[in-house]
Symmetry: C2
Subunit: 419 residues, 2 copies
C-alpha cells in the first residue's frame, strides 16, 4: 500500500489520567513490536514536557508481565502533563528530539488539547519535510472528543459512578428521613457526560429509583426549579439522590460554585464546590438535612471497578493507531465506531486531527428529558453497552497490585532545553 | 444447660450502615431458623423507631435467595435510625410491643449507642420479670467498640479506602508536580481507626510510598507541624498524599473544620470540611497546588470492594448472637476474639452490655509512630488480616445487583404510639 517507513516509534500520554489509558499504551506497545519497520519503541515521560526534555524510556525492554499489568493499572504509567506548547521554539525542539532519535512514528494518547498538540507537530513536520507519522489515540473520561462515538475512559468512570449510586442510595434508603438530600459531585468540565452516565444506576422497571435528579452543564441552573425538583421527589420518595456535574452553570453561563474559580495552564477554570453549594441550598432553603460528597480523582482512577468493554476498546485503539501508521496514515486520530447492528459492536476508524483538535462534543439535548434532570432511553441505549464486563484487577494481601514501568532511560543526545 | 425459652425473635439494625451489616442480619436469620424454640423470626424496621411504631416484618417468609443476597448488599436492609430512647415511656412501649408479639429474643445490630439502648431494654425487662434474652451484635466502621478485638464493618471500609489510596496515588504520581498535595478526608468521629487503616496501602518495602501523612484525631493538630510535614515529604517525593480523619482536633480539643458544627440527635457534632481546610492551608501557606476529596457515605457502602474476612466475621457474629441466646445468655454483646496463633484466627466471645455501652475504644498511642503522622508495625499486624479476600458481588448488565427485603408486615396488635 504505502511505502515502508523505517525508524523508531514514540508513545506519550497527556492530560488527566483515566483507569484505562495504560491499556491503550499496552495496545500500542504490543502492536508496535509486531512490525519490523519499527526499530525501537520509546515512551516519552510526562507527556510533551518529557519530549522537550528528551526524557525517553525504552518500552521494548520492559518485561511482558509489566506490559500485561498496564492493562489494569490506572493513571498514566509514563507520567503526564498539562503543559501547553506555546512558542514556535517548543515545536522546533520537539522535531529536533525526533530527528536525534530517528522518531518516525509518534502516538499521543490524550484529549482535545493533546490532539491539538499532535496536529501542530504533524503539520510542522510536513512543512519541514521530516517524514513522520502522527496518530492520536483518544482518551478522556469527559467523553467530549468529536468524531468518535465515545472515548476510552468514559465507560469506566460511569460504571464506577453508577456503582456508587447503587450502593450509596442503599444507605440513603436505610437512613430513611435522616439524611434526606444526598448530592454527589462528579467530574465534567464542559459537558455533562459523566453526570448523565450516573443515570444507568436507575432500575428501568422502577422510575422512582435513584438517581432522582441529575444537574448537567447543558441545562442552565435555576435555584427555584432546583428547590421545586427536590420537593417533587420528596413528595414521592424517602430521600432525594442528586448527581451534579462540576461544570454546572447559571443562565448567564457562570459556573455555580462556592469556591472562587482559578484557571489552569490552558485557561480552563478549575472547578469544585458545586456539590457543597447544592447541599447548602437544600438545607438553608428547604430546612432538610443534606449531605454531599466529591469523588474527585478517585472516579478516574478506580481500576478496581472499571469496565471490561472500555478496557478492551482502549487496548484496541492503541493497537489500531500503530496499524494505521504502518499503513501510511498520518495526521489522524483513531475513533471508536459503533457498528450498525442489533448487538453492540465497536470498531475503530480514523479522523483528521484538524477535525478533532479542540472540538468539544456536547451531550445531545434530545437525550435529556423535558424535566431537564433525567436522561431518556436514547442516552441509555448509547451508554449501557460501555459499562459491560468487570476488569479483574489482581488483589494480593487484600489490595490491588499495580505495575510500574522500569526506568530504562534512553541516553540523551542533545543539550538541555529551557522550558 | 439453660431452660428452653419458647417465643419469637426480633432482629433490628441501628445507626450508620456498613457494607457488611446485612451479613450479620443474614447470620442471625439463618441461625434462628435452626432452632425450634424460636417460632417467628421478625425484623424491626428502622431500628428502635420501627419497634416503637410496631413496624415488624416477617423474615422467615423472605426467599432464601434474598437472605443469601443480604451477604453482599450494603446498608441496613431493615432500615435504620439515629433515634435516642429518652423517656421512660419509650422503654415501656418497647416492652409492650415485645409482650404483644411474644418477643423473647432480641438481637440489636449496632454501635455504642445501640448497645446502650439494648442494655437499657434488657435491664427493664429484668426489672419487670419479663423473660427476654437480649444480645447485641457489634457493627461500626469506626471500630471504636470496647471489649471486641475489632468490629464488623471496619475491615471493609479500610480495604476500600486503602484501594483508593493505591489508585489515586497512581494518578498523583502521573500528574507529577501538577497537583502536589492530595488530601483524602475519611470518616471517624472520635477515633482515627479509619484514617490509620489507610496506611495499609503503603508498600512495606517502599517507605516513600503513599499515604505519606496521616492526621488522626488522637494527635492534636498543629498548623506549623503540618506545613513542615508536607515540606519534608516534598523534599523527597513528587507529591504528598495525605489522609485525614474527619474528627481531627486542635490542642484545645476543638474540631478542625471549615464548616460550622451542628449536632445530631445524640449530641455528636456533625463533622466535615477538614479535608478542604487542609487543602486550603497547603495552597495558601506553601503556594503549592492541592486537591481534596471527601468520600462520605460511599466508604461505608462500598460492598463492591469489601473484605471477605470482614463479611465472614459479620455473618459469624450474627449467628453467634443467636446461639448464645439459645444457650441462655442475655444482656451481652458478641465480641470478635483474635486467637493467640501464628496465623490470624478469629472466634466469637461475649461481653456484658454494661461494659460495652457507650464506651469508646481509642487507637492505641503506641501504634502511632513518633512523627505522629504514620502507623507502626503493631498497627499493620493488627489491621492487615481484616482486609483479606474480596467479596464477589454479582454484577448484571454492568452494575451490582443488590437485594431488597419484601414487605411482609406483621399485623399490628397495639394502638399507635406518639413518638
Amino acid at each position: 500500500m504505502s511505502q515502508e517507513l523505517e525508524g523508531n516509534c514514540l508513545i506519550a500520554q497527556s492530560g488527566g489520567p483515566t483507569s484505562v489509558i495504560n491499556a491503550s499504551l499496552a495496545g500500542a506497545v504490543t502492536e508496535a513490536l509486531n512490525h519490523e519497520c519499527i526499530e525501537e519503541v520509546y515512551g516519552g515521560l510526562n507527556g510533551i514536557k518529557g519530549i522537550l526534555n528528551e526524557e525517553l524510556i525504552d518500552l521494548a525492554e520492559q518485561s511482558q508481565q509489566t506490559i500485561r499489568g498496564l492493562r489494569y493499572t490506572p493513571a498514566s504509567a509514563l507520567g503526564t502533563c498539562r503543559f501547553k506548547l506555546k512558542q514556535s521554539q517548543d515545536f522546533d525542539r520537539i522535531l529536533e528530539v525526533f530527528e536525534a532519535h530517528n522518531i518516525r512514528y509518534f502516538f499521543y494518547i490524550g484529549g482535545n488539547d493533546s490532539q491539538d498538540s499532535a496536529n501542530k507537530i504533524s503539520k510542522l513536520a510536513q512543512e519541514r519535510n521530516y517524514d513522520l507519522r502522527v496518530i492520536g489515540i483518544p482518551k478522556t473520561i469527559d467523553n467530549d472528543l468529536v468524531a468518535t462515538d465515545h472515548c476510552p475512559g468514559y465507560g469506566s468512570v460511569i460504571k464506577y459512578v453508577s456503582t456508587l449510586v447503587r450502593e450509596v442510595s442503599k444507605d440513603n434508603e436505610a437512613m430513611g428521613n435522616h439524611d434526606l438530600v444526598y448530592v454527589l459531585e462528579v467530574m465534567g468540565r464542559s459537558a455533562g457526560w459523566i453526570a448523565a452516565g450516573a443515570s444507568l444506576a436507575k432500575h428501568r422497571d422502577d422510575p422512582g429509583s435513584p438517581p432522582h435528579l441529575i444537574y448537567l452543564p447543558e441545562v442552565p441552573f435555576s435555584v427555584d426549579k432546583y428547590l421545586e425538583d427536590i420537593q417533587r421527589v420528596l413528595n414521592k420518595e424517602k430521600y432525594c439522590f442528586i448527581v451534579v456535574g462540576e461544570g454546572l452553570v447559571d443562565e448567564n453561563g457562570n459556573y455555580i460554585s462556592t469556591a472562587s474559580a482559578s484557571k489552569d495552564a490552558f485557561g480552563h477554570s478549575q472547578l469544585g464546590g458545586v456539590g457543597d453549594y447544592l447541599k447548602n441550598l437544600a438545607e438553608e432553603r428547604l430546612g432538610v438535612k443534606s449531605r454531599s460528597a466529591t469523588l474527585g480523582i478517585s472516579q478516574r482512577s478506580a481500576a478496581h471497578c472499571s469496565s471490561q468493554t472500555d478496557n478492551d476498546e482502549a487496548f484496541m485503539a492503541g493497537a489500531a493507531a500503530v496499524k494505521a501508521a504502518i499503513d501510511g496514515e498520518t495526521d489522524k486520530m483513531v475513533t471508536l465506531v459503533r457498528a450498525e447492528a442489533d448487538q453492540y459492536l465497536c470498531e475503530t476508524g480514523l479522523v483528521s486531527l484538524d477535525e478533532v483538535a479542540n472540538g468539544v462534543k456536547a451531550l445531545p439535548e434530545s437525550w435529556i428529558n423535558e424535566d431537564g434532570v433525567s436522561m431518556n432511553f436514547n442516552f441509555h441505549r448509547y451508554a449501557q453497552p460501555l459499562i459491560q464486563g468487570e476488569v479483574e484487577v489482581p488483589f494480593s494481601h487484600g489490595l490491588p497490585q499495580f505495575v510500574k514501568l522500569s526506568d530504562n532511560k534512553v541516553p540523551k543526545l542533545l543539550s538541555a532545553y529551557e522550558l
